[in-house]
Symmetry: none
Subunit: 202 residues, 2 copies
Amino acid sequence: MLTPSETKTLKFIQKYCIEKGCSPTLTEIADGIGIKSRGVIHRYLKSLESKKLLSIVSNRKRGICLNLEAYENQSIAPIIPLLGRIAAGQPIEAIEDRHEINLADFIMNPDRFALQVTGESMMDAGILDGDTVIIKHQNTANNGDIVVALIDGIEATLKRFKKLPKGMILLIPENKSMEAIAYEAERIQIQGVVVGQLRSYQ
Amino acid sequence: MLTPSETKTLKFIQKYCIEKGCSPTLTEIADGIGIKSRGVIHRYLKSLESKKLLSIVSNRKRGICLNLEAYENQSIAPIIPLLGRIAAGQPIEAIEDRHEINLADFIMNPDRFALQVTGESMMDAGILDGDTVIIKHQNTANNGDIVVALIDGIEATLKRFKKLPKGMILLIPENKSMEAIAYEAERIQIQGVVVGQLRSYQ
DNA sequence: TTGAATGTTCTCCTTTTGTTCTCTATTATT
DNA sequence: AATAATAGAGAACAAAAGGAGAACATTCAA
């Protein structure tokens, strides 16, 4: 069980290692988590070492090694640190405004549910076969929304939504090899709108 | 079985643990359920402990451990219903195969972190500009993995990884208009592997 | 070689937290 | 009416956690 300070320290080290490619000095950690004394940081590191979360090479500058395997089964919060922006060829750029992503906010709302996507109809919008989409349950949609629509009460489909004149609705697949189809509004029932998408590579 | 106050206390602790990844202090519980005295909370905790719903590590701050059954039948678990597959274009499969998608399995591990992607270099793999990728922090990679690599210790980049003969490493962008580049292995430092991807449409 | 930066080990201090009390009030039950 | 169960406030104390900083040892690069 880690104390909040230990957690902060560990997260800072992890972040530093990823951004800079080497471990930080005690002073850098202290600055990073808002503490003035190197001695305090050293105490935290010793405690983390005794909990097998990292190892320290004695007297070596920047001699902290994270023990990534032990890190694996620590207690979990639905919050992942958002380290920064990655752009090809640039250093990782830190993000000031938002430091973490709370998946609870992202997805876990009572009116949300998930669907697994089969098929390639939304491929060009980055929604691939096997992806999971998070749907907000609602019966209306705005132009441009990606919706789950029920056609004639039977066929469910994931398409981009567009309202046409004269009570028609256009459902647009995001795939060059498929065509958009217009329906009378009465035939279309909106089941929900895509508010998120996620994919696992494991 | 449980008194209303005990139930409130337990629920608060469950929620707190899931959201924050560690147990709350007595003061936090008191604030959370609208009580001013820590002593009262302590009494509730003792009672809950005697009912085997949790255990307390004496004198340890944040030393509350929930027992496993206390987690069950809780709707606040990081789980969203996975309703079924939606086959774009094809008729729907049953909405009744009610699985659940557990975000804990999906991405929530402490050795994970997130990066926001800038640029289109992985577009053809369905990773778009602005998406968030979940990275597992590790220093090795297998062929075909999408990795965060540090080139010469400075430039960060998101590419598909391939080992070549003679100590070379090929970093492959998933974008037809960009070219793969081979580097000497010494110049490349693997920072992590993409294990997930998510996008918000809100 | 030398000096600045860094790691290490201390002691001392403050704040926060857990723990144990006592006291009071309300409500339901016998 | 008496009793027990539940609920809450708050004081007092001990222990843990958080922090400052001095003093010394060690690295490492100029």
